[in-house]
Amino acid sequence: MKIGVVTFPGSLDDVDARRAAAVAGAEAVPLWHGDADLHGVDAVVLPGGFSYGDYLRAGAISRFAPVMDTIIKKAGEGLPVLGICNGFQVLCESHLLPGALIKNHHRKFVCKDQGLRIENNRTAWTSDYDANHEITIVLKNQDGSFVADEATLDRLEGEGRVVARYLGNPNGSYRDIAGITNERGNVVGLMPHPEHCVETLTGPSTDGLGFFTSVLKAVVAS
């Protein structure tokens, strides 16, 4: 069982994502943005960071990386993909997920322990959580405010594709949305950082581990 973690120029939480995958019991495989080959991984994490400095728009330049061409294709075939923070931004820029992430409404970088409610536990990445499970994981970003037009938001809610919602909106996200999924439930984008919450020694909780254990089960089941 292999979880690939992509490193883009400017990725920062790739090491953490690999550690979290390993803690969950998977083999973590580093993937390089310039290499279109996924090296046989069973699932992919696009980690947090400031790829290409977030200079144009967060995730805008990374989406054109050779590895993304393959990921976009395989995601369509059902490969589980989790985009965390900058990874979420890359997924939106790649149009694998609807909407976009813009600057926090307070315009500052924010790092805090954030309460979330898991609203959809039927995705490849959230099956280990109970429905409406409340968890606390690390939130840290500059461009974390999820926006989309009303029709898109209504569709996301109507189809149960809001994966996680903030308990107390930290960044101006529309309808308190912290994470969403595609129709099929294999691609998930999440603003907060579950990979920082797999050990009590270095994180505020171990509430993030479920994302990584969930995908192991999803892969075994498929």
């Binding site: 120029p9 400017g10 920062l12 939480d13 090491v15 953490d16 550690r19 947090g48 960071g49 400031f50 290409y52 400095g53 977030d54 200079y55 500052k108 970088f109 924010v110 790092c111 805090k112 690390v138 840290k140 500059q142 950082h193 990979e195 920082h196 050990e199 020694l201 270095t202 994180g203």
Partner: protein, 599 residues
Amino acid sequence: MSTDTVSNATSTPDVEQPWAELGLKPDEYQRIRDILDRRPTSCELAMYSVMWSEHCSYKSSKVHLKKFGDIPQETPAGKMLAGIGENAGVIDIGEGYAVTFKVESHNHPSYVEPYQGAATGVGGIVRDILAMGARPVAVMDPLRFGPLDAPDTKRVLPGIVSGVGGYGNSLGLPNIGGEVVFDSTYLGNPLVNALCVGVMKHEDLHLANATGVGNQIILYGAKTGGDGIGGVSVLASETFADGGPTKRPAVQVGDPFMEKLLIECTLELFAARIVEGIQDLGGAGLSCATSELASAGDGGMYVSLDKVPLRDASLAPEEILMSESQERMMAVVTPANVDRFLEICAKWDVQADVIGEVTDTGLLQIDWHGERVVDVPPRTVAHDGPVYERPFERPSWQDDLQADGAEKLPRATTGERLRDTLLKLIASPNLCDKSWVTDQYDRYVLGNSVLAQPEDSGMIRVDETSGLGVAVSTDCNGRFAKLDPYTGAKLALAESYRNVATTGARPAAVTDCLNFGSPEDPGVMWQFSEAIRGLVDGCIELGIPVTGGNVSFYNQTGETPILPTPVVGVLGVIDDVTRRTPIGFTAEMEGHQLYLLGE
């Protein structure tokens, strides 16, 4: 456009040179002429003037800093593998690991342009740590501001905080602590001190020297622009036939994305074992890197300035030598490894160019457009700068200040009054909650932050298997230091030492950033020398050495210097981070007993 070459300098000994505008004293200029036995070229004058500045040469502080050598150089954790004089101190922490750490100031640039000044301050110290061969693993930021309600603080504080965060967060370095202190003397003189910790294996230790005749000098990272050379443009303007050069910015703009690439690229170069010597480019840019590398090595280096990739094609050679463009490094590489070196740089999209080589001439020789513009013994630039024994004297007001004791202040006599005092205290800017600042810093990235705010020390796990880790704290109470700089410095050291010790780590080494007013004021010089005396005595008593640091003078407005602010950083080692002791009381501790230690 004419270039001032060495032969031109020899044949025109009487040309007037703007040495005074460049901050040189008459005797210093004469000394350069004596060393070279001719007048310097304008490029040489540029190099000497910047390398002999207070900032680069430590000319006022050197005689005092020497006293740190009196402290035994062993640390309680292990051997010191590199000490004062290197880019940063390195200590052995066991299990084959070494750590390096250092604090540096970026005070004045942060006043001029708070965001970029603070950002590039973080960038600079991170490159220092990287240049030792280490992976940077954490940063800290002791900060000082004018009164919270002063209008200029509203400009300076948010900019500095977001600059520290903007740069550190983008590098993926957890911020594990710092300070936020307010005092009226810092109005117009904010202090931005930045500390970085790095980790390496013993065999990865790299030093800044250029040895091995024929080895190639590679400049890599960002292109060279006109950043931070406002001052030298007086020189460059002489070489422009009409109108002078285009505008030169005095501020540097940071590119943290570039620096992140530089870090990963450099670590891959180290891992490939193809770096013979390395130096980061900081203050004084190429002037500093070339002269220091050559001086610490075999002494000879040849550089062709035409090979330096430029962001601004109009730069004159003097300006290229002085540019403080950020995110650049210089490496010494054997000819056989050059291709591999360039390949790794290309992988990370980092520009790299061979600009020269190590020679056996004993001279630093630099060409521009095929003509020699620098021909100097590198030691005279980098290490043999002027040394001043500045006069110092205990200020006349010191006695009155000390006599004005706290016992004269009115005391709260009722419970109500006491309550008011307490509320006033904890609501004061210096004591209140700092999360407005710390919430803007990523403390989790890399996944090894065992302790960060609101703890008294930060703590980083070094080895995931054994649990080996380090703890770091920075402290200084400038008001104590003003009352008595000797004891104040000792108190700063003791506080930092205690903060590290209470986490369960064993304090091992000290870095310091000595922020003071003008060294030309004998009272300030006295504060400075007393603070060093205090640090030396304190370190000897505690049995830990000073492994490196930084001096920042001229922090004053008119005649009023800042509070003497010797910021002390202590690093400790802990065998097993799972046994750390956090501050505070949690529900699990119910029933535990409380003890008060000490008098």
